[in-house]
């Protein structure tokens, strides 16, 4: 039965948007925790830790997200691991976000001048103390802009999970289009919903980057 795209349709899309947001938050939390561990290991760990992490980052960054999603959804059942689309989507996005966040944050940790480590050592701080009280506060400030910028990428990237049938905003748009046959209206609405989430975050990211540039030239 063909319906018209109206209030019901918008409510249906809004429900999809909730899933998009939920998946984005889950991805950012899981990817953030793993990414932080990887970033620390990559920039401060011994060689046998740095090398595998660097390889992981390079390989994931050279693979399309869609293939990572397909691998976790269609590939893992062969190892006896049957994941529902939500779990497969979260896993794939987490693996992907981990690689990018680890790379961004490694850059931030390494952007803190080497002399800060030396000064802390001269003041008698231990390695972990230096990291906690001297390096991380500065690295976190540097990382804010790029991190918020990557959060925008995460929200947009969740759309790829529509292709394994996870009903988030884009998939909801496809389903609604199949019922209403009004693709232009449906997908413009979908696009506007993404925009409403992503644009404020992009502005915030730019602001944080600008603030950082002002700070660093003031010193």
């Amino acid at each position: 039965m063909i319906q018209d795209f109206g209030t019901d349709g918008v409510i249906f899309l809004a429900r999809g948007l909730m899933w998009t947001l939920g998946l984005s938050v889950a991805t950012f939390l899981c990817g953030g925790i793993l990414g932080l561990i990887f970033a620390l290991g990559r920039s401060l760990g011994p060689r046998w830790i740095r090398l595998p992490i660097a390889t992981y980052i390079e390989l994931v960054q050279a693979t399309p997200l869609l293939i990572v999603v397909f691998l976790s959804f269609y590939g893992l059942p062969f190892f006896g691991l049957y994941l529902p689309p939500l779990a497969a989507a979260s896993l794939a996005l987490t693996l992907y976000a981990t690689a990018f966040l680890a790379d961004i944050w490694r850059g931030c940790i390494e952007a803190v001048p080497r002399t800060q480590w030396e000064a802390s050592e001269a003041l008698g701080l231990s390695g972990p103390e230096t990291l906690r009280h001297v390096i991380m506060p500065q690295a976190i400030r540097i990382s804010l802009g790029p991190t918020v910028g990557f959060m925008v990428q995460i929200v947009k990237n969740t759309s790829v999970t529509a292709l394994i049938g996870f009903v988030e905003l884009t998939r909801a748009g496809q389903l609604l289009n199949n019922q209403t046959f009004q693709p232009f209206h449906v997908f413009i609405t979908v696009a506007l919903m993404y925009f409403a989430i992503c644009y404020p975050m992009s502005l915030w990211s730019e602001k944080l980057k600008e603030k950082r540039n002002v700070d660093s030239t003031a010193h």
């Binding site: 399309p64 062969f78 990018f100 931030c108 990428q153 759309s159 292709l163 693709p183 993404y194």
Partner: protein, 239 residues
């Protein structure tokens, strides 16, 4: 029970994989050429166009940077026919990916334009360089050098992003893989092979960028003001 991998059924479809790889490279190359051209025009328009042009450029950039490529593809491919413009899947893919890259590269070019300081050009002219020489050695090449890491990082994302075009059945590698997967049922092997091919394509493109970079920047050391700007941009561009 351990699963035994068998790549034979997938590898026996090598001709389709090669065809898909060529299609992906073709789609990428077309999108990069068109996308960079769009990006440059938009960046110039935003940099010193009249007010209306600047607003238009900003709206375009923000619209495309804050919505997913997949939705842009759907809008172009499924939505435009309702406005009377019917595109083939391959055309829709090139246009959507180009417009997407155009928005991102416009922002990157803008950073390059902002890095050129007027005094450098004046100094070059005072030293007796012709306008053309100053444009080339003082403006274009150093500006390009500042943005080169960010730009090539974006191009890599664009090349990998072409896989999304399989959603509208544009001919490229992921679609070829999906066809092989659905007839061999060797999902894991198929997507592992696809991942390997994409990694190889990415490496090949990176080598190409490095070679082009060498050719472009073989002589000049950028002025100090620009060197400071370039160190962090690379990391930020990926964000």
């Amino acid at each position: 029970m351990a699963y035994e991998m068998n790549f034979q059924p997938v590898l026996s479809r090598a001709p389709e994989l090669i065809e898909g790889t060529i299609a992906t490279i073709e789609l990428s190359a077309k999108s990069i050429v068109v996308g960079l051209a769009v990006g440059l025009v938009v960046a110039l328009g935003r940099h010193d166009g009249p007010r209306a042009v600047r607003t238009l450029a900003t709206v375009y950039i923000e619209m495309f940077r804050n919505t997913p490529l997949l939705v842009q593809l759907f809008l172009l491919f499924f939505g435009l026919p309702f406005l009377g413009l019917r595109l083939s899947a391959d055309e829709a893919a090139v246009i959507a990916i180009s417009l997407n890259l155009g928005a991102y590269s416009a922002e990157i070019f803008r950073a390059g334009l902002a890095a050129i300081s007027k005094t450098q050009v004046e100094a070059a002219l005072a030293l007796g360089l012709s306008k053309l020489q100053a444009m080339r050695h003082v403006v274009l090449i150093p500006a390009l050098k500042v943005i080169y890491p960010a730009l090539t990082g974006q191009l890599t994302l664009t090349v990998l992003g072409t896989s999304i075009a399989s959603a509208i059945s544009a001919s490229e590698l992921t679609l070829a893989g999906a066809r092989i997967e659905s007839s061999t049922f060797r999902s894991l092997e198929t997507f592992l092979v696809l991942a390997a091919i994409y990694i190889a394509i990415t490496i090949a493109f990176r080598i190409l960028y490095a070679l082009v970079g060498r050719l472009l920047f073989r002589r000049k050391v950028p002025p100090p003001s620009m060197r400071a700007a370039s160190a962090f941009d690379k990391k930020e561009a990926r964000a």
